[in-house]
Amino acid sequence: MSTIVIGLSLSFLLFLLAAGLTLIFGMLGVINFAHGALYMLGAYVCYQIVHWTGSFWIGLAFAPIVVAALGAAMEVTTLRPVYSRDHIYQLLLTFGFILVIEESVRLIWGLDYKQVPTPALFSQPIAMLGSQIPSYRLFIIGFGALVSALLFLLLDRSRLGMVIRAASSDSEMAQTLGINVSRVRTAVFALGSGLAALGGVVAAPLVPIELGMGFSVIIDCFVVVIIGGLGNIKGAILAALLLGMARAAGFTYAPEWVELITFVLLIVTLMTRPSGLFSRKGRSA
């Protein structure tokens, strides 16, 4: 049973990591290679805030906002002029973001590891189902579920979500109806960047904060996004659950096969349902 609890924590961590990537792709059609770099930046900003204030919770609240603001600035100054061009320009641009962000982080924080301690509220393990479960893992499950629910409500049930979807599916029509599409795109990119940073903040007490941390998560993010269906938030949640539980079971019974299990899932998805296991059927008028 402890495997299920740990699997859930893996799943929601994966979801937090991948949500921003799928959001930006789904709504803007941009494959954001810099997602991992924004995740890393979120962790570093959180470290700085914790260093100044001593509070993880202030870091959790403000680091995503800082990175979201930076994302908005990036979108306005660099991405906006290339939306109308071929996708390759957007790919190259987001790849360039990685280099700029990594060099900036190196200049500001240096090469050595940084550390964010586990918040005191969740520093003790809890005896549960015959195991000692880190209470921080339970926080990840609860927080991840909350973020996924909020995202779902925002995009599928709110007026703002309707505007975003309208701007995404037919930007010219949305513009004609009075929607400021440029502003919507900026908001979506900022939200996606903030979500990447949120993933970095939540992961910070679990992993070392260092320059390569963004690179190591980006593959997992793409796996979740591809299995869930590009741009599909509900699909990303289900894919993260599938992957997280598969990994927890894999580590329990066959740790050497975990990576293989992950990539077999990816290949099977691409071969059988290239648009994602949980993709929605397209509607025609």
Binding site: P117, S131, P134, L206, P208
Partner: protein, 394 residues
């Protein structure tokens, strides 16, 4: 000059330039002693490259920046911790006249550079990569390692487990060949001294979640946890094992599990973790005290094991080159293969002619809370294992 004369002259010049004998003669009077420094300066291992570079630069400054009466010039290149860029960049530096190579950080890059060293007959000095295959009997004539091997560090683990009285061990091993070999050696040596292995999990390199493995360890009846991972993986494991209090119920140890840099990244959960230590600034001898003082003066920080090993290795090499009074690389190689460093930072080191591996003592320590001016989490050396217990006879 007619066309025929031009072609004949050009062919003659090309032949002279390509001839290895005349090539050596042309290199007899170099303007400087050129070292190709190929390290990781970016990514997760960037900090290791930075520290090694600082160690080398201090060693060169200590000798007035010269060897054999010529200035020492180091060209630094970032191999991005990958073999292919390492070889490409080293090849370019060798084409520019470098007389030796220094590096790399990762063993895969070092093994790639080793091939280049043998092919081009250029000495390669290794001061951090620990894969046992780098120095082996009848191996590379041009490769020398002055730092630890993984094999000796594994033997230190077994010695520690024996001294500590551990009876049952659960292991976690990074899933790549060098650490797999290391784990197999550990199991074989541990069984010889009556230690039972109750479990082991191979985790992917760069694994970010050890929670399931930690849970299995916590539920086992092991009294010791052998952690055969290092770097980021070691930090991740110890942070996550600390969240369930594994450090309070079982002894965690590993061959290269902790130093001051990694302990700072782990935080309080690092306290009480045992590890092999390649070099330490608290080693009590005149050479080390002098080095630590100079390093702190120049860089305002404590020297890491990477900086200490780099300083020690390059100082030894340059002293040997100086003693040969020759610019012939073969003479350097022959001299270094039978040299002894009496005043190394860690005490006496003897270069073994059979495999070009420096025989040396093994340092073992535990993470403790440091008192100022030491780092907040610092290694305390608890054991010094004699070389005779750590190396097979040649």
């Amino acid at each position: 000059m007619d066309r025929r004369t031009f072609l004949v002259s050009s062919a003659g010049v090309a032949l002279v330039a390509l001839n290895p004998v005349t090539g050596v003669l042309a290199a007899d009077e170099p303007a400087d002693f050129h070292i190709a420094g190929v390290l990781a300066f970016s990514g997760a291992y960037g900090i290791i490259g930075k520290d090694m570079r600082q160690g080398v630069e201090l060693a060169i400054a200590d000798r007035g920046g010269k060897v054999l009466g010529k200035p020492i010039r180091v060209s630094w290149e970032d191999d991005e911790t990958k073999p292919q860029p390492a070889v490409q960049k080293a090849t370019r530096l060798l084409a520019g006249g470098a007389q030796m190579m220094f590096g790399a950080v990762g063993s895969a890059s070092t093994l790639a550079l080793q091939g280049l060293a043998d092919q081009r007959k250029i000495p390669l000095l290794v001061t951090i990569s620990a894969d046992d295959k780098i120095t082996r009997p009848n191996g590379s004539r041009y490769t020398f390692r002055t730092s630890n091997t993984l094999g000796m560090e594994i033997r230190m683990c077994v010695e520690f487990a024996k001294v500590k009285g551990l009876k049952k061990i659960y292991g976690v091993t990074a899933d790549y060949q060098a650490t797999r070999d290391g784990w197999e050696l550990f199991v074989a040596e541990a069984k010889k001294v009556g230690i039972e292995i109750v479990g082991n999990d191979y985790a992917p390199l760069g694994n970010r979640d050890y929670s399931v493995i930690v849970d299995k360890m916590a539920k086992s009846d092991a009294d010791g946890i052998a952690v055969m991972v290092t770097g980021n993986d070691a930090v991740t494991f110890l942070k996550q094992s600390g969240q369930v209090g594994l450090n309070k119920t079982k002894v965690q140890f590993g061959p290269v599990l902790q130093d001051e840099t990694l302990a700072a990244a782990v935080g309080p959960a690092a306290v009480g973790v045992y590890s092999g230590v390649r070099y330490h600034f608290t080693v009590d001898n005149p050479a080390n005290k002098k080095f630590v003082e100079a390093y702190r003066t120049k860089y305002n920080e404590w020297p890491s094991s990477f900086a200490g090993e780099a300083y020690d290795g390059i100082s030894w090499w340059l002293d040997v080159v100086e003693s040969t009074k020759s610019w012939d690389r073969e003479t350097w190689v022959d001299a270094f293969a039978k040299s002894t460093r009496e005043n190394s930072l860690e005490g006496k080191k003897v270069m073994r002619a059979c495999d070009h591996q420096a025989a040396q003592v093994g340092l073992w320590g535990v993470v403790v809370e440091g008192q100022s001016p030491l780092p907040p989490l610092t290694m305390k050396i608890t054991d010094v294992f004699d070389a005779s217990k750590l190396f097979d006879a040649c």
